[in-house]
Every structure is written in C-alpha cells, then in structure tokens.
Symmetry: C2
DNA sequence: TTGTGTGGTTTATAATAGTAACCTATAGCG
DNA sequence: CGCTATAGGTTACTATTATAAACCACACAA
C-alpha cells in the first residue's frame, strides 16, 4: 500500500508498489461497502433476524437487494442462513465468526458518521 | 439504529426505530465506501498527491473515476484541490481535517482485510 | 373469504461504473 | 522542426448495479 512515484533521469515516471488491481482497502470495501451490506451486517449484530424483519428494519432497501446481499454474505461465510421451520416457512439469518469480525469497523464507522452530522 | 420489531395482540408487525432511509452506517458508507473513494483517501494520507500520480497508484481505476471521486470529496470538504502551478499546469490533492478523520476507519479496514486473506 | 403473515422471484427502468480515445498545453531530444 | 512524453482532465459509448413495484405459493386467523 505504500505507493511511491519515482522519476528517473529522463523525467519518466513509474510507480513502485502500485495497487495493480484492488488493494486491501478496495477489497475490504467490496466485502463490506456495497450498498446495504454494512447495514445488513450491523443489524444482525445482536441476534438472528428473519428475512422480513430485516426488510422492515432497512426501510429503503428492496427485498431483492436484501436477498442478493444475504446470498453474497452467505457465500462468503459471513452470514448463516437457517431454516427454522418448514410448513409455515421461517428463516433466520445470523452472523458467523467472520461476519462478526467486521463489526468493530462498522461500529467505528457509525460513530464517525454520527459525529459529523452527515446530512 | 436499535431497530426492534414488535408484534401486537393481533399478530401485526411493526418496527420501532427502523432505518427509514439510510441510517448512519449507510450514510457513512456512501461517503467512504463508493468504489475507489476509500482507496483515494487512503493514498492521500501522507502528503499532497498530484492527479496523474494518484491515477498511477490506483492502477485499475480510470481517470474519469478518479476525477469524479475527487470532485465529490472536494465538494464534501474532505479533500482540498490546489493549483500549484499554472502554465505547466500542476495540481495537488490533499486531505482536509475532515478527510483525515476518516483515516482510522480505513486503517482498521485495511488491517481486517489483510488479516482475512481475502482473495 | 378477505386480510395478514412468511420468504422470496420477476420484470422493467434508472443510476453508476468502466473503457478507451481524445484534447490543450508544455518540455526535452535529435 | 517533428517526435515523444508529461500534465490534467473531457467525451462518447458500453456494461454493471440498484430500485421500484408486482407478483407467487402457502399458512393462519377472524
């Protein structure tokens, strides 16, 4: 991540240690920073939550979005999906250890966000 | 942020304290989490950087993207654009105090990201 | 039997991101 | 002088993502 730009004797520039493709920050953001992903993880912090409850909590996100995000998070091992009951179908989503490990970042983001009265 | 789902005597559900529109996490993400925004801020952490140097550091992001992000960040008061030299035109970008205040979150994200060998 | 709940899927459209070529201008080299 | 490379962008066009609103099948309760 310590990119340095060097200029050679002829004035030509090169970068040492460039982020050739997404670097750590960028990769992290793509796990946690896609629209609604952070919010979803954060709302699962305390206990398993059911699909429609999550949808209600995140007023503003469509079910399709939530569904998509949950599937991504599940595929990455950050969220666990459990069918609690068939027949009257019931499903809950909860954080895995890995999912949980992202919470402190989100918590800091929340504090930062709130302390800077972002519109 | 402490959304609670209540069920009344008739089984109807409502959410108290729902994120009616984007909540703190979501708002924060939209400042810092848009594609490349975090990386740009992070690469400005040490010193003012010139446009093309930034473009070289962020191999993978187009000039258009970088330009757009820098303008957004400037508009929000997170980045300061300075014309260092006219004639041979030279411009630098650097973090403002507010921009700097986001660095610790990005630093944590970087550590988290690197410690979980994300592909 | 109408209204609610569950957990989603479908379709269509709007907003964002990405690619590559281009532009004005200066400076160095042979 | 012509060639190349630098600077800091802009333009046009395409691909990817997000959003809204309907819709499904099933269950339960009044």
């Amino acid at each position: 991540m310590e990119s340095v730009v060097k200029t050679d004797s002829k004035g030509r520039k090169k970068v040492l240690n460039a982020c050739l493709e997404p670097c750590a920050i960028e990769k992290g953001m793509r796990l946690i920073g896609s629209k609604w992903t952070g919010s979803i993880i954060y709302h699962l912090k305390d206990e398993p939550v059911r699909f429609n409850d999550l949808a209600r909590m995140l007023g503003g996100a469509s079910k399709k979005m939530i569904d998509q995000r949950l599937k991504e998070l599940e595929a990455r091992g950050m969220v666990l999906r459990t069918v609690v009951n068939e027949r009257p179908v019931a499903v809950t989503y909860e954080l895995t250890e890995f999912g949980r490990s992202a919470l402190h970042i989100l918590e800091q983001l929340r504090v930062w966000s709130e302390s800077h009265q972002l519109d």
